[in-house]
Symmetry: C2
Subunit: 151 residues, 2 copies
């Protein structure tokens, strides 16, 4: 729990991959799928979603494929995650209207959890794909990434 779905993993891998290949190189689904042993059809759906969210740009026809829509430094990890998972809530009932949560009236963890959630968002949002790559080699995670959740 507190776990990213496989689809999200795939999305991050794909974006990383594209960022490694450079801005001009069009990569297609099959290429990525084979590189990482991902079921092709599933990855296809993931990439389509990323495309719809404007994170990557598609190019049809033979020799077609995908391209990052912006510089890796301008793509936040959070945006990728949200593109795939949609609404992300650390708990079922982040302050939301149509929540059928039975414990709302007396809930004593709503606001605290929401704060924690915002902190996590802040961290994820402040980290770009480009940075993530660096952290792959380094073992250090930057400080002061907590407060200040943008979206």
């Amino acid at each position: 729990m507190l776990k990213l779905s496989k689809k999200t993993d795939y999305a991050l891998m794909a974006v990383q991959y594209m960022s490694e290949k450079g801005a001009d190189r069009v990569v297609n689904t099959k290429e990525i799928a084979e590189e990482y042993n991902i079921p092709g059809e599933l990855l296809a759906k993931v990439l389509q979603k990323l495309g719809k969210k404007g994170l990557i740009v598609s190019q049809n026809g033979p020799k077609g494929g995908y391209l990052l829509a912006k510089s890796p430094a301008d793509i936040s990890v959070l945006s990728v995650i949200q593109a795939i998972e949609g609404h992300v809530g650390i708990t079922e009932c982040y302050h939301n209207e149509d929540s059928t949560c039975m414990q709302m009236p007396r809930c004593n963890i709503r606001t605290p959890l929401r704060n924690i959630q915002n902190s996590i968002y802040g961290l994820l949002d402040s980290m770009s794909i480009a940075e993530m790559k660096e952290f792959g080699s380094a073992t250090i995670v930057p400080q002061s990434r907590l407060y200040g959740h943008r979206t």
Copy 2:
């Protein structure tokens, strides 16, 4: 995704509740279940798990129930979460042996994600139940909670 399970919610509520009631007051399952509209049997299991992990102490017999094992300031939010969810990994394959992950050989997001995960752990670990309660009223989340994951 990135979501706490209901059981964990219940666990946090219950611990919060006990912390509110004070150290000497024995509370039983039914009491908490009614307070928050939680299915009793399920909550029972949750509390049993917390007991097994040594976070709370059980007391059998009539007038029995549960008690916090330590001061609310010494119980980290992370410990409660882990008690219920067991191993918590932001991704399937946090550096782990028996992972059957097909993309390991080439995975480009393992280490970065692991760092992010550690950051989140650090935040969760550094926050105690007592603190969480305060953050319920305040809307601010403390800075510099990132690096420095204990466990």
